[in-house]
Subunit: 342 residues, 4 copies
Amino acid sequence: MSNKKQIGIIGATGYTGEELLRCLALHPQAEVAFVTSEKEAGASLASVYPHMPLYKDLQLITAQQAAARAVDLVFLCLPAGESAPLARAFVAKNIKVVDLGADFRFSDPAVYKAWYGMEHPAPDLLDRSVYGLPEWNRDKIRSAAIVGNPGCYPTSVQLAVLPFLKAGLLADAAIIVDSKSGVSGAGKSPTKTTHFVSVNENLSPYKAGRRHRHVGEMETHLQNFSGQKADIIFTPHLTPITRGMLSTIYVQTKTVMDKAQVLQVLKDAYTSEPFVHVLQEDYPSMKMAANSNYCFLGAEAPGGKTIILFSAIDNLGKGASSQAIQNMNIMLGLPEESGLLT
Amino acid sequence: MSNKKQIGIIGATGYTGEELLRCLALHPQAEVAFVTSEKEAGASLASVYPHMPLYKDLQLITAQQAAARAVDLVFLCLPAGESAPLARAFVAKNIKVVDLGADFRFSDPAVYKAWYGMEHPAPDLLDRSVYGLPEWNRDKIRSAAIVGNPGCYPTSVQLAVLPFLKAGLLADAAIIVDSKSGVSGAGKSPTKTTHFVSVNENLSPYKAGRRHRHVGEMETHLQNFSGQKADIIFTPHLTPITRGMLSTIYVQTKTVMDKAQVLQVLKDAYTSEPFVHVLQEDYPSMKMAANSNYCFLGAEAPGGKTIILFSAIDNLGKGASSQAIQNMNIMLGLPEESGLLT
Amino acid sequence: MSNKKQIGIIGATGYTGEELLRCLALHPQAEVAFVTSEKEAGASLASVYPHMPLYKDLQLITAQQAAARAVDLVFLCLPAGESAPLARAFVAKNIKVVDLGADFRFSDPAVYKAWYGMEHPAPDLLDRSVYGLPEWNRDKIRSAAIVGNPGCYPTSVQLAVLPFLKAGLLADAAIIVDSKSGVSGAGKSPTKTTHFVSVNENLSPYKAGRRHRHVGEMETHLQNFSGQKADIIFTPHLTPITRGMLSTIYVQTKTVMDKAQVLQVLKDAYTSEPFVHVLQEDYPSMKMAANSNYCFLGAEAPGGKTIILFSAIDNLGKGASSQAIQNMNIMLGLPEESGLLT
Amino acid sequence: MSNKKQIGIIGATGYTGEELLRCLALHPQAEVAFVTSEKEAGASLASVYPHMPLYKDLQLITAQQAAARAVDLVFLCLPAGESAPLARAFVAKNIKVVDLGADFRFSDPAVYKAWYGMEHPAPDLLDRSVYGLPEWNRDKIRSAAIVGNPGCYPTSVQLAVLPFLKAGLLADAAIIVDSKSGVSGAGKSPTKTTHFVSVNENLSPYKAGRRHRHVGEMETHLQNFSGQKADIIFTPHLTPITRGMLSTIYVQTKTVMDKAQVLQVLKDAYTSEPFVHVLQEDYPSMKMAANSNYCFLGAEAPGGKTIILFSAIDNLGKGASSQAIQNMNIMLGLPEESGLLT
């Protein structure tokens, strides 16, 4: 038998599950032990992903069948509210869990309820779970039973803003976040909104202001990690792009900073981070991060107290599945970059 | 009251209905009298098409309510099998009908049944209907009660091939049609196939060989108009494009023809046609015909008996709605180019 | 001879020239008398635009040859600095001029120099020219000899912001403009930046802060039309879209306003305007305005003093050529909507 | 020092060079020793590819500087005619060469001259070079000094057609190839043809019939590998896609074959090949092969003697750089799948 770490994927037929399979294909120390799908259980993975011949011998099973399998770590790719019972079962067997959904992104069930409109499904598990933003929470991730993998928008925003908040450089004003996302972030279910004709040659704002649930996640963890209160005004936009995310962020500094000073704050924060890179001249663009676990940061300082921060990630990469792999690497004691350096 | 021709649109909320509205907006001698939608009846058109403020005072009604309205002509934008009862009602009131669906594209109900898998819903109406390819059937369209507006693929293919078939220039071999279509041709219902992520950065063949219903329409009318039998091998492809269609067609000639001779056959056929244009040097590309009623034709002759014909239309334009307007103009005695010359 | 107004286009081979041709094709009271191109003079327009058979008999001439032609109005589609001598020659012959470039967008040559880095090429003509934003300057446009057609970004921003500035509703804080543009705004010259592979699946900020020349145009005319000083922080983004523009604008109000109040300000400003439409529920998206002269406005009010305004136009439509046609209609005493209502 | 194989890339700043870098990033037994660019020599690779932080310490050097470096294998990413002197220098030092250009794709210099319009620049090297289509030439590749990496279109076509030609199943008629390619195949130089606005919402045939140089490459090697003469009629199309290639191929069989029989021929040919996969139900689509070294094959048999073959690859993957890596693996005695199984 392989001495690679054995990994299970619950909900393998969505975009994040597919991306986990892609990431694990070249991982030198981990491999896929099982994949589940309630709808497609019994089918071969090849029938769902004919373009992944590497996995052609894997069979889709149900989550219940999966519960009997001994593995090292399980990824949960499920909608908010559905992860808890499975997480509990795996944790009981000392199997590590990375949840790509929203159920373990908040330590306070009241905050979860406020933004997700339902009671938290497993408040008892919250003290065994941590928020999986490795650059700001690496130590806790290392020993956590459950990691709540961050949302895509919050990942892009926190990585850009936290160095300034933490250093106490920001004035007490709303942080304005104008984000642009690829369509894969909206999930695989066909809807009027994701129809090709609706998206192509179009760019659409949605849930602007404080309507998107990720506002709660951003505010919670910006405060947790920096100790400073953060108010967010947030406009996400759907773009005619499959994968990618760019956040253009407008913050108020306490004193006037020039571009070099602004970039220095970012560079100081991430100098030894393998996946966060600060651009000196260029601004980050969405495509730079495509198909990778990288976050590219940049900035502009027009001369006043408003500065502009740019943060580019792949919404399915650092914004979801490859960040989940990064968390897996940390939790299993593997080199953090394993399988991710492209 | 306006002395413009009064036009009704049955099924105004799909792509072809929307395109009819766009075409009629600038038509100098016709205007929209009513629009129907069974699902959205009662709503204002503005709620469905907020981008068309011109029509903001129109109310969507049911087809039944529409039957009571006195108009000059009605467009039917309905799935195969659903047009017949409405067509019968309008014809009974001496209202002209252009059906953008498939129900009046075949004069022989047996052929309809062979390709559409159901009994023809109104065989009694067939002798009052004609096939609406104006360049090859103008005289009959002028006096018809019902016009069956051609399918998009058949329009692009017939316009290119008919001049050669009619002139007896083709050998008795299969005509190979490799067509590429914009996604709007697949309709507005969200499906896995039309999800942005499925289409973008992709190009997919489907229903290849003789599986697509348009093969029957092509073969029927190529023979009707030319008097020659035509066998079609057809591969449609879905492309990451909203609107447009390009057919690349491989035919066998009886004798070797050079490119100039091939182009001359096309030019002779369409010299006085306002909407069919033969390119001398360039090949047609899909975008040339976008948002217009034009068909652009071109050719290549590699030296043997296989020649290549190119035909570009807009699948919603000459492939559907603007061709329907062209038919309307002919049926109502208006200048054929009215509202269409862009 | 036609009794339509005779129109000349200087620089007809760029995207704005092509769009003027498209708009004029269906204009009931105006037609194209000549088209120029220094590079392509002598060629037929058909060789440049084979997809526009309507103009196939037009020959491209030089600007110098054009100077001898008697027409009613001339469009100048030239880079900054090149319009002045031609404008002078046409004005001297009492031919009206609409300049789609930047030379007549500023009444103060010092402001022009500050943003365009060169002396104004024709300061003597400035008092015969006016800024062509019809909704805010209609009366002056009516009698102007020269109209400086607004830039695309400034059009989208001014239409959204002016009603608030003018009504004195905004606090004295920077207006943050996050704009997204189609690639046609970058012009037709092939560059690394506009290569398909660079743009596709990408979204890139550029010239952020106060680096883009349109900042000067916005600030100048926001102040001119409202009497209030406006400071702009501006981030334009290049998007994988051919035509379209969306500006997401964050402004600080003096008092807290709810969404209904915000929308009412917009509706009051534009209630009788044919080309500016305020959306009640939805936010505007880029595609709504495609191929039209419309501007769609919308808003969100998250509860504090920061409100979000949305403005969607077609960068080649209301952002350039169709707005130029609107100006032409006003200058020539034609109905303002002529040829534009789709 | 690393005991990984040391690899040089001549011409690293084009799309194929960039893709080689991407492939080598995760290769367990090979790593990049140097990269060259005549234009950018002296710059850091990070300035050209800021999105590849892994290579941020590599400096671009000139080809002449590279000649002094001891490596195991060199990739040449150069235009036709420019590879020969470099190939000669490296071979003289017993450094293996994979040429991604056209100079070593033909063993007969007369055929090269006929299609490329110039004398072969190094006829003396031709007997040390072999054609690098591993599935059909693996043994010779193993011991070759120089491998001529196949063109993208020829790779897609040969893999589909060779099993039928070799088995003597095809009638003596032209093979009709209708191919669709992503834009990256046209190279990185900005041109009118590759401008985003020209490509987006468009699909354009070019060099149809026998005008494209790849016709010569296809015919040469179809005959070499099968012993049967092959006549090609070829229409390439440019599509609004960054990466990908789909060839739809119409061949005449000697006897009528059904779909199962057709697929069996393909499956028998590639049963043990890791990178060529035959689809049973679905047709291949372009995106299936994106970012991979896979070729997906499929077929349709409409009942007569014309059958349809589908072949999907990534034009930068199996059509260029990852196939070059596959050749490298074979030449250096590494596992053929190393670094490629995703």
